[in-house]
Symmetry: C2
Subunit: 349 residues, 2 copies
DNA sequence: CATTCGCCTGGGAGCGCTCCCAAATTTTTT
DNA sequence: AAAAAATTTGGGAGCGCTCCCAGGCGAATG
């Protein structure tokens, strides 16, 4: 089944059918309807390879997550991100290709791009100074970054306001009266982790507090690392009264360490997380955290990229760089100790 | 950069370059080398869309995992499976497309297949009586199943011997002297879970033991479900001395339930898992389990599919159905209590 | 030495679309 | 009513490959 055959059945030409499929407005309403009816009737799908070859675009966009497969497929963060991207692609008739990094990242993407298989790229937060990014830009491949990249304003980005979010969380702890506030950071070779650390520091300094260096522990986003970091924090003298963890997983790890030490959250030590992942609401006690609309970010990034792809490069393409920064919002639950300071129910270790 | 240009640089014709790229033996060695050199020099990649259009195949195979995204991206099982498939594809110059099920599965795949975007499909274990499978077969799309599908021998499969594996695990517990052996099954709408249950039952019956129905608890593969199931088992009178869990996650959940009840593994209750995921070796106590070479299974399934695709359909295609069943192997660690019955070190709850 | 056979090589004919221009049709204007 | 303008339609020319057939060349054969 081809365009030509549909055209024959509809009593018009190949070109008209093509116009209908591509939503070209220059088709008489009546003709359009007739053609659509035949297309539906025959359950016709245009051949993607032919479209790609003739139209010089594949309608496939790649999502690159510079992390090992085992991380991508274990952290629900990525599941949500991918879901958001996939939804946007679906809505606009694009295909999302997860670029699975097996060999050298450079090679693989380079390959796909050169083979004209990819129209554009979504790039999840790369490591700081990732050599891959300049490599991609040189190719002038349409690119949207999820997360910001310091020192470059020529790449479109979608991001949450990490600094503000971390600030909000820390300020909330300050407001509750805690002064010995520690933090467990994410992996510090990621901009997001640095930003959250900065937000934490800013909030404390604004309150005139300079945290001792032992109050700043580096994690790697995982629950296990949160647990280890908290174990270190418990050794500090004096130990902190509250902890801001840069991710919910780490916050949960920290809570487990606290509970394993025979202490209680939030009565003995308050904990605040970041990301507001689904688990945050169901752990015990429910975790106070900063909401991070990951799925929405993925959706926006993919939409932005598709928009770019479909806008003819009339204006200088360097000019239409956009930066979307979504506001962070604090979700107050029990783990920070607000109303709960006297009514906590014991946890079931 | 096109075939034609490479040909010009190499002083030969488009056809010859095409032959070189496609490893056609009918090219003089000297010419072949010269052409390869130019290709490397120019960093040339043939246009995929053109190849797909002219060659009537896309070199893209789809991997369908009939599970919600959140499951796929959370269970390391799938990460390993995907990795295996991706490696095989990479090796043979194919692309793996994860088919993300957003809307109706039927629709999405139907779509991709009709648009000639997919040459073949890898299908991870579908639910029993999944209406999707017959749908796919009607299309005569090359298909390889990971896991078996009862009552159909016309689909190629790659699988581990689940029945034998579960038997081995149960027999091992019997050999250690346990007689009150319970099981935590996987989700029973999956063939794999049924097979593992069957293996467990067979082993017990061979030993002349008929387990009471309360010794058989259904889980859903998750750690949480293992924990819940174990809590039920602990209520049984008399409680079991040993538990065979149909997955490592559930086994770990069970161990946590046992430890939370103030009992010890394996001294009070022995636990055996299934899958031998990386965590199995690192939990405390290390988990005795059945090795499941998931990555290898993915690799084999993808290789088999590609083989099918590249074999011209000379012989009746219905005839070349293959079933690979990999043997299961027991990995004995500490959690079953073997040597450990008197030397267990306490766990750090 | 002419003939046959094998091995290489070149080029034509598409694959099923999109893009573009020109022709046909309709609508608006004078 | 004819002319001009706007709208709608048709078909040619590719996109960059693969497939196939025909032709060139040298070695083996009679």
């Amino acid at each position: 089944m081809t365009l030509e055959e549909i055209a024959r059945l509809a009593g018009c030409s190949r070109s008209t059918v093509s116009r209908v499929i591509n939503h070209d407005p220059n088709v008489r309403a009546e003709t359009r309807e007739r053609v659509w009816r035949i297309i539906k009737e025959q359950d016709f799908q245009p051949n993607l390879a032919a479209r790609a070859l003739a139209g010089r675009r594949s309608r496939v966009i790649g999502l690159v997550i510079p992390q090992p497969l085992s991380t991508i497929f274990t952290d629900p963060f990525f599941s949500m991100l991918i879901h958001g991207c996939a939804l946007a692609c679906d809505e606009r008739g694009y295909y999302l290709m997860l670029s699975l990094v097996l060999r050298q990242a450079n090679d693989t993407y380079h390959w796909l791009i050169r083979a004209r298989h990819l129209d554009g790229l979504l790039l999840a937060p790369p490591l700081i100074n990732d050599p891959f990014v300049p490599h991609l830009l040189d190719k002038r491949l349409p690119l949207v970054m999820i997360g910001r990249i310091p020192g470059r304003t020529d790449i479109s980005t979608v991001n949450i306001d990490n600094i503000k979010g971390a600030s909000l969380a820390t300020q909330h702890l300050l407001k509750l009266g805690y002064t010995r506030i520690a933090t467990i950071t994410g992996a510090l070779n990621l901009v997001g982790a640095l930003d959250r650390l900065e937000g934490y520091l800013c909030a404390l300094r604004e309150a005139g507090i300079e945290p001792p260096s032992e109050y700043i522990q580096e994690g790697d986003w995982s629950e296990a690392s949160g647990r280890r970091a908290m174990e270190c924090l418990l050794q500090a003298t004096p130990p902190p009264e509250a902890v801001f963890a840069a991710s919910d997983s780490m916050a949960i790890g920290a809570m487990k360490a606290i509970q394993a030490a025979g202490l209680m959250v939030p009565n003995d030590i308050a904990v605040v997380g970041f990301d507001d992942m689904p688990v945050a609401a169901t752990v015990d006690p429910p975790l106070t955290t900063v909401h991070h609309p990951i799925e929405r970010i993925g959706f926006l990034a993919a939409s932005m990229l598709i928009e770019k792809l479909e806008t003819p490069p009339t204006q200088a393409s360097w000019a239409n760089v956009q930066h979307i920064v979504l506001p962070a919002r604090l979700v107050i639950r029990m783990s920070c100790g607000q109303a709960l300071r006297c009514s906590a129910h014991p946890t079931d270790v």
